[in-house]
Amino acid sequence: MKKQLITGLALCVAAIFFVILVSSISTADAAELTLTANMVKEIPAGPDAPAWQKAKAIQIPFVGKEQFAGKKADVTAKALYTADTVYFLFKWKDATQSTVKGAWEFDGQKWFHRKGNEDRISLLFEINRINNFATKGCAVTCHGPAGKPAKEFKFATASAAEKGDLWQWKAARSAPYNAVDDGWLTVAGEKTGRQNDAGGGGDVKNEVTDKSKPLYMQDPGKKPSAPGFLLMEEAVEIKDYSGFKAGDVITYQMPKKPDGSRADVKAISSYGAGGWTVMLSRKLDTGHDDDVVFNARKKYPFALALFDDSGDENSYDSEVITLEFGR
């Protein structure tokens, strides 16, 4: 009797598992581009860490707009996570390393801005649900005040209840601090809906009042921590301009050291072999209201934009990608 009971119950359990297995196959969602973050125990110290070999790579296609209209690009993406942190690894081809961002150059007589912008990769997640973001991506974030042309507000949600988490790795302005400029997106105010996360950071324009020349230069008493970039806390006011010679270059938009919630996303980046490699990391839950909380059992739609020596609307945009966490 006991044997019959146990056998019967075991068969019941097996049948339940079988039916669940079969019905789970038929209820699977339609295929879409999904980036799966695999769980790892060891923290990936950098883009070459062995842990990345366990991550599945996906190719994210991008379509250009404005000055890149008709062009395409693609980024290889991987993701990993530990008990408390999520890591992303992005690699993309870029023939030119662009970090100029309008730097000052001295021609022997006067200062002028060099032509050139910076390379950048941006990610947008939802903090609160952004209506139809999961299906249409960044296209639904084109909302501005009535009567204002699109170029003036650039980027905003349709209502204050909708909030996005905007991460921008900027080759000239955040990379020198191994950080991402962490912001958030809300309804448009006077202009843009983009807001900075709480804390310090960003950049300051290095120019005198009449905008004719730089105001700051590298403090001769400090060793540059990011060679090629003038960081705000390593800058001193220029007292004597006579020492500069033709061809001298000084950063125009000086990065400021990020702190607080604005410094939540760390970055390790390098340029080589005709392309960028950028590794991002962030706590799953930062405890800050201006950040998306990652729950490893949930899926997160996100979209990316790629800037190639460009800014404003001149970008390559991706479709929506789903971030999921492997069990």
Binding site: L9, C12, A30, R297
Partner: protein
């Protein structure tokens, strides 16, 4: 021991439940009412109760408003302790319920247990089998996902194609042509009030007729003497063991291996989304694909309606007392041909929807 017994007796008296408990203790039931050969009916009851319990929990957090429904379901699933397990139990229970009910009905058919005098046991069971899909259909829309929304749109368009009553049914279901807040509210009310009430009523009728007419005897007479056991505690204890095992099996399966699939929030403006039919509607989907234009009604209403009608009138047209399958080979053959047609249509639909997608 004696003290606790006295206490429980006292408590039952206080709550005026002592007579009810005595009634259950004095009610006897055939010992083979819950055996492995007849387990499907009991599992179906377990699953219905699990659906009610898990549904009641989810209703505490659910907001039937298009802008909030998806997030309220997500909150209950991911931010509450065991929320995913409870939603998993709800989701997999209805899948299992359909399978178990079909098995239960198949056994009843093959053993001829639907024949007089148990016609109404069969009819109430078939009605249950027809009401459960309505609960599934209304439930599909509630999480307000892309799949749920667009599946509902397809179903609404099929309903609206039925002449005369189609447009009226659509108006009744969703208050107009749009699947929006009115539709969500009505589907919610149907899902949590009217359809559960229907299921409870039909279950009560099913058990009432079963009690009145008794279980059908086995086709092959048992060598063991028939034995009656008390409903309380003997039969209820058996049933409780089954309840615990089924609950644990589904709960563990959903927690560790089979999380409930969920998609993106519904986007009514995204008409690119093509919903994939669930396994149990594959054959209906294929019928609708086959019969197009003026013949749509054949696939959407005539054939499914005829099948449902045939099931309902079966005990009234098959009056012979003969229950042995070999002596009923004609009706068994017809049933197998119908089953093969349903299976064939399902496979065709599955191939069309699940194998042509480029990953």
């Amino acid at each position: 021991m004696k003290n606790s017994e006295n206490m429980s007796q006292g408590l039952l008296k206080l709550l005026a439940l002592d007579h009810a408990v005595d009634f259950l203790k004095n009610t006897t039931i055939s010992s083979d009412a819950l055996t492995w050969k007849r387990v499907c009916g009991s599992i179906a009851t377990v699953l219905v109760i699990l659906l009610f319990l898990s549904g009641a929990f989810m209703a505490l957090y659910y907001s039937p408003y298009p802008g909030a429904a998806y997030d309220s379901v997500q909150y209950a699933e991911f931010d509450l302790p065991f929320g995913d397990v409870i939603r998993g139990i709800h989701h997999w229970s209805w899948n299992l319920l359909l399978v178990v009910m079909l098995l239960h009905m198949t056994r009843t058919f093959f053993t001829g247990a639907y024949k007089p005098p148990r016609e109404m046991v069969w009819v109430s069971g078939v009605l249950l089998l027809l009401v459960v899909p309505l609960a599934i259909i209304t439930g599909d829309l509630l999480p307000w996902t892309q799949a749920g929304y667009w599946t509902t749109r397809v179903r609404v368009s099929i309903i609206s194609s039925v002449p005369v009553i189609g447009p009226f049914m659509v108006d009744l279901l969703q208050g107009g042509p749009r699947t929006g807040i009115v539709a969500l509210t009505r589907f919610y009310v149907l899902h949590v009030i009217f359809l559960p009430a229907g299921i409870i009523s039909l279950l009560a009728l099913h058990f009432y007729f079963l009690r009145l007419k008794g279980l059908a005897d086995p086709i092959m007479p048992s060598r063991l003497p028939k034995r009656n056991i008390a409903l309380l505690p003997d039969m209820i204890n058996r049933w409780l063991i089954l309840f615990i095992v089924v609950t644990l099996a589904i709960g563990i399966a959903t927690r560790f291996w089979f999380a409930v699939p969920y998609g993106d929030p519904a986007d009514p403006s995204d008409s690119r989304f093509v919903p994939k039919p669930e396994w149990w509607v594959l054959f209906l989907n294929q019928l609708v694909s086959i019969f197009k234009g003026p013949f749509t009604i054949v696939g959407s209403a005539v054939i499914p309606g005829a099948l449902a009608g045939l099931l309902l009138v079966l005990p009234f047209i098959s009056r012979s007392p003969e229950r042995r399958p070999v002596r009923r080979w004609k009706e068994i053959l017809v049933a197998m041909l119908i089953a093969a047609a349903i299976l064939g249509l399902s496979v065709m639909s599955w191939i069309e929807h699940f194998t042509s997608t480029v990953a």
